[in-house]
Subunit: 341 residues, 4 copies
Amino acid sequence: MIVILKNNPDKAQLTSLLSWLKEKNIDVHESVGISHTILGLVGDTASLDANLISALDIVEDVKRVQEPYKHANRKFHPKPTVIKVRDTQIGGGTLTLMAGPCSVESEEQIVEIAKRVKAAGANILRGGAFKPRTSPYAFQGMGTNGIELLKIAREETGLPIVTEIMDAEQLDYFKDVDIIQVGARNMQNFNMLKKLGRQEKPVLLKRGLSATYEEWLMSAEYIMSGGNHNVILCERGIRTFETYTRNTLDLGAIPVLRRLTHLPIIIDPSHAAGKAWLVPQTAPAAVAAGADGLIIEVHNNPAYAVCDGPQSIKPEVFDKLAAHLQALHEFMKSHPAPEIN
Amino acid sequence: MIVILKNNPDKAQLTSLLSWLKEKNIDVHESVGISHTILGLVGDTASLDANLISALDIVEDVKRVQEPYKHANRKFHPKPTVIKVRDTQIGGGTLTLMAGPCSVESEEQIVEIAKRVKAAGANILRGGAFKPRTSPYAFQGMGTNGIELLKIAREETGLPIVTEIMDAEQLDYFKDVDIIQVGARNMQNFNMLKKLGRQEKPVLLKRGLSATYEEWLMSAEYIMSGGNHNVILCERGIRTFETYTRNTLDLGAIPVLRRLTHLPIIIDPSHAAGKAWLVPQTAPAAVAAGADGLIIEVHNNPAYAVCDGPQSIKPEVFDKLAAHLQALHEFMKSHPAPEIN
Amino acid sequence: MIVILKNNPDKAQLTSLLSWLKEKNIDVHESVGISHTILGLVGDTASLDANLISALDIVEDVKRVQEPYKHANRKFHPKPTVIKVRDTQIGGGTLTLMAGPCSVESEEQIVEIAKRVKAAGANILRGGAFKPRTSPYAFQGMGTNGIELLKIAREETGLPIVTEIMDAEQLDYFKDVDIIQVGARNMQNFNMLKKLGRQEKPVLLKRGLSATYEEWLMSAEYIMSGGNHNVILCERGIRTFETYTRNTLDLGAIPVLRRLTHLPIIIDPSHAAGKAWLVPQTAPAAVAAGADGLIIEVHNNPAYAVCDGPQSIKPEVFDKLAAHLQALHEFMKSHPAPEIN
Amino acid sequence: MIVILKNNPDKAQLTSLLSWLKEKNIDVHESVGISHTILGLVGDTASLDANLISALDIVEDVKRVQEPYKHANRKFHPKPTVIKVRDTQIGGGTLTLMAGPCSVESEEQIVEIAKRVKAAGANILRGGAFKPRTSPYAFQGMGTNGIELLKIAREETGLPIVTEIMDAEQLDYFKDVDIIQVGARNMQNFNMLKKLGRQEKPVLLKRGLSATYEEWLMSAEYIMSGGNHNVILCERGIRTFETYTRNTLDLGAIPVLRRLTHLPIIIDPSHAAGKAWLVPQTAPAAVAAGADGLIIEVHNNPAYAVCDGPQSIKPEVFDKLAAHLQALHEFMKSHPAPEIN
């Protein structure tokens, strides 16, 4: 970390800063320039809060040279993380397709969709049991019964299951779930992240609606610093001024995260768009940008389509889309884009 | 709710929509225009998800006529909510000043600040015990010990205490706290909101970093629909493209919320700015815009200022600021701005 | 357009609204519901300002059913626009590659780059002559001399040239330019748009930093309503809260615009990223999402790289990237993603 | 400016950077730390493009220590700028009220409003002659005739007039205007800014919809570097994710700009809100935050209110509001909020 001091800094404050840094076992290298004095801090600067230091009257500015995350940092872990889930894996050059309904509604529904998406080439079954809803008056999901139905669908198809946790207290209900999903609105529910770090199941960590890449990786760091390194990052659209789509899908996040971290990156084109017809158009872009996989909403209920999410596509569309994405993934592997280091 | 259908809508889909609405006891008034057919839905439309309906192929668009929140809605509860906390009250024409340190650090520190801010005219003592920190490596607060120290400070000064809860599991620790604060990052931690709705303590609900007014009020609705109507809204800055300040304080939220809801509105100028020198400049604007109060960070530790938040002001500044704000509040009451209905 | 009236609207105001609409030759179809009266407006509603009507005390809300743009609207012009420029074309299933330096610096520089990018497969040469710079103290470009050098490069290579106009007064200097570029900061310079609509050269219209799709298409409408239908839309990144990249590239804009308009869509991955290493990673995503082409910054000046844009890639990288993009474009044509109507 | 180099930087690139800086007469002070080498650049660094330098492979990061603007910078010009316009002045402790209709519609209309707002205490008359409209099909204003009518209103009342320029070519029409307004969409129309810098009339420079404080001040710098130092900054709301109001009024901009610049700061509460009823609620907050004045839309046309802007207030409301704002301004002068340096 580099601290730029103002001209003629107050001696007392400078001394108190230096002693405070010493307490924290930070070595300080002072270099006096013509207009400014610069302190180079060496040591475990990740534990220093840049905001606190920059608040000092004597400090002009503070500049982090190292990212504040360690376990998630590719600089320290160049090898991409590969997460094994039952017979499948996430990361390491494969394309993972997670598919399923917005909400689990019945055994018939979830089993039928599970069979359809598996036949189409999906590796993992998604389905909402606990639903985070903006309105307390909207359907809140089937809860634990929903998880039981997901397990039945897994038995029928062999597909591992991923479903969302909304509260650390629910953790017991997830002991038979394969991947625990953390929703965008809980990305900075730090106590829940800590608890997820003290158990072994992989965590699918969605990006918060207005979370920066660094904040997102710091949330991953919360989980990893607890001992659980099986974190999957999921971009699901960010909040911008544009209202035509529910959110703006940030596909540039894929190459950026590829450089910053070794964790696998999954794209959710369904929630970003909020419009089913956009899903087959944006999903290929995610693969071309190098995503490790996608998570896509699929419903099978045209007669009661009104009960399905506006962003869900029909199984017959998913059949074609999955085939297209796998072919595109193969093409990109055989025809890679140039890389700049 | 008004549903605008496309031209020549598919009969089957229309029938399925109408029967689905009937199941939900919604009366439908059909009016056929030259280019469009319009359905006027009457009944408990708050429970309908506009997104789901607008996803139907036959639907051009859906327009809510009523807000989706009821308990928080001023239309149904024109009288402003006044919340009594020990000997003080929030709302109803008074100006509430909540003040205290970013974090509780020691008995000496919190008691000294409590005495200082009380002398200056603060009505409520704030202080962080459980600290939501972006980094797992940063100080996470004193936890339950911090709450014990706040209670000591309350005994010494008589000031009610407000402190932040981070997780529904912590609720037991808050039984002696006067006001439970929900942080911006937990504004949509729906399970926690439900639990806070099933207990009686007032809740200070901070606005999420990118939450719309409606989403914010829907989170209040989660608490109120559980039976707890003592909700205080707190604007603390939203996330925008501007990076000079940590967040952008949205003071326009005050008159907007005044019209939409009967709940009291508090402004947090400290976190929005992230710069102590901005606090005395923006706080008066909040009072002039009609805020019911402010929550301001005050530290008393110049020697170790580095340990205090960059947005904390010194007690001697708070002395002057509190006096200024009360005088301004009196002025605004005797010289009200004109109102347009 | 649909106007939703409040309950028991003031008769005088309603009469004045109806007569005002009549003056504008708008037919009004009134349908009285149980809780609301709804007016269906038929006629040239594009000329009506929804904001003005919604401002009336008697109006609850206004809902546009038709988009406010006509010439740019795909509903009225389903066939994709194909723009011919010398021996090449933009749109209609081809992939256009526009490439060249940030700024024209010398004859040697521009001619060398032109030859390099042409050899690599570029169809159009880009280069800045008039440079919009945030700072008045930064290099403002070579101006008319830059355009002369672009013409020399065109003679040497046969590549059509595209360069940016900053002011309607500059129009005379552009009579030998093939495509006139309008920068993001001028997207709503309406007088300039009108003038560009009264001449024949194709216009490359960049999206404003915080322009919605509709505002962008309305700016295209300004040009088209003047008679010039040769408009090319260029997404170059929007402004969001994320600061790691200069802007956030909105690739979802491609399928959205494909549905809303018949105009060709070009992506600028260089300016969005602000980082050269991101360009080869995001450009393929643009092709997979169905872009009609890309505009990419290429410099040839490693020794003085400091004078080139931080987002410029080297010719040897462009060689590989151009080949990759063309191969990917062919793949997408032979393996199309499914479409939902 | 401080340049932080990566470890073991490439010697050739470093030499080329140093010689390039030398050419620009920048002194370089090298200080070698344990993990990083830091270059302190001294000289006219405002002309250096930080992006260009940070793009070098050998550069880890670049940190500006001085703001890139000079003439607008309070550090170099501590005294607040006071702009004299006929018998009134802007800045220097007075509260300027600019008021008038959205558009000039007729002599009767503009003269009547001018008399009303003058009687209420307005110092300057505003009125749109050239109207920037999102749609080419909307009313574009009366143009030069509108300016003639403004001049008549000025003769009748003595109020100086401010109206918007949309294009450098219109400059001739503005020779009798007192203050030339630059709209938000033209804030970075750099050629027009240069021309406005080469004439003497004061310029009211509105903030772009997504312009940072620094970009805004750099646009002021464009005008000032041409010789015209009479620039008035006008905050009119920024674009955020919130859609309830047309824009989000950033009142924190007032104290921030007060610290960064010596130029007067005016607030436009009408356009930010897009709702007339919000204007009397947010205007007082602007005064309490220390604004030098406000610019407010007033219409006088209840019968045809539909032709007036949704954000315009009626004269009888402005009467009360102007009195309130002046009283509040006096109160703030006699009861100043504390300042932190």
